[in-house]
Symmetry: C2
Subunit: 216 residues, 2 copies
């Protein structure tokens, strides 16, 4: 918990007390939220693509179509990948002290492609099974053509930081004497009842990885 920032770039400056640099904190933020934003540059202009990420050890992975402009642009290029879980609105006694509770991670690094087809398949299996344990082997097997059409990227979790805010507003001392309601409006991702595809064959049962799915 006393880990130091890897670089100046990942040091949390605003509210530095909310910054975390130890692996456990960064891993926890990544593991809680598959949605991420990948930032990169094409022709000197900034791009951000929302996509899904998953972690394997000290690396983060994301994937997409081999025809994707983003994935063709980021191979061996520097990217900034962020993940943010939104945990609530923080209502203070002044506008200034309003905030949000959230857990975010920011990673800088060079993105690389996984080119080996067998490894590609193993990583994709870990992605699917990481969300839905056991699902990969229940599926129609992936084809060589599908593997070719899928680009798989990864980057090290190294130049990285997490920023975490929890709890009640931090108001100016004098403002606590004011008759203004302060507090937190917590929010979270809710999983609703599964909606089976009407085209499912009769007698096909909902697997446990669906009925017992939990977010994060």
């Amino acid at each position: 918990m006393t880990a130091q920032p890897y670089s100046d770039r990942v040091r949390v400056r605003r509210h530095h007390e909310r910054g975390h640099y130890d692996r456990a904190a960064i891993h926890a933020v990544l593991d809680a939220m598959p949605m991420c934003s990948v930032g990169y540059i094409i022709d000197g202009r900034p791009y951000v693509t929302p996509t899904l990420q998953w972690r394997e050890g000290e690396h983060v992975y994301w994937h997409g179509s081999s025809a994707s402009r983003m994935l063709r642009s980021v191979d061996h290029a520097e990217v900034c990948l962020t993940v943010a879980s939104f945990d609530g609105f923080v209502l203070a006694r002044s506008g200034m002290n309003h905030s949000v509770n959230s857990r975010s991670a920011m990673l800088f690094g060079t993105a690389r492609k996984v080119t080996d087809t067998e490894k590609k398949e193993q990583h994709l299996q870990r992605f699917v099974d990481g969300l839905f344990p056991g699902r990969w082997n229940m599926l129609r097997p992936i084809t060589q053509q599908e593997l070719k059409a899928t680009t798989l990227m990864f980057m090290p979790i190294e130049e990285a930081s997490a920023k975490i805010r929890t709890g009640q507003p931090l108001d100016d001392d004098d403002d606590y004497a004011l008759p203004i309601w302060g507090g937190v409006l917590p929010v979270r991702m809710e999983v609703l009842p599964p909606e089976p595809d009407p085209r499912n064959l009769e007698g096909v049962e909902m697997p446990g990885h669906v009925s017992a799915f939990k977010f994060g």
Copy 2:
């Protein structure tokens, strides 16, 4: 609904049938989710900052500390701002056809500062009241010093697109004959019961904009 892409850059290429270019669709995605990611460049390297956005007419706004590296970097600079609402996991009969249901928007443009102090205050009021109607006038009034310490950025909603996926998996024709469960695991942002600050004065009641708060 037949709006054309403003530029080649915002044209949705992967699953182009999911692309929307009309204002109503883009506004709806922005209005549904305050969390956004702002992509920008410092010293030729990509950065992504998670922050909150709000829309006023044909512009999107975001704010932060005047000491923020991001906000100092993006004035008169090109940015890419994205918003993504995650609506569910789509479980198909093959790994390849797995997907997520989501609504995202991508905006390119030049970010500018609001420098006029009075206007700054008006925009901040619209931000707070947009989430919590009537709250601004219940708060301890903002000070000149706080306004100075707050940087307010905006960009036009012009070079923009939305990408929306809904519904069941789209499997390969042959795969529908397989006894594999397909379907959707819907997710959404859930608002939990408000947590009043233990430091609230006795007798201060929870305002309606808190007890009746709805997301999006």
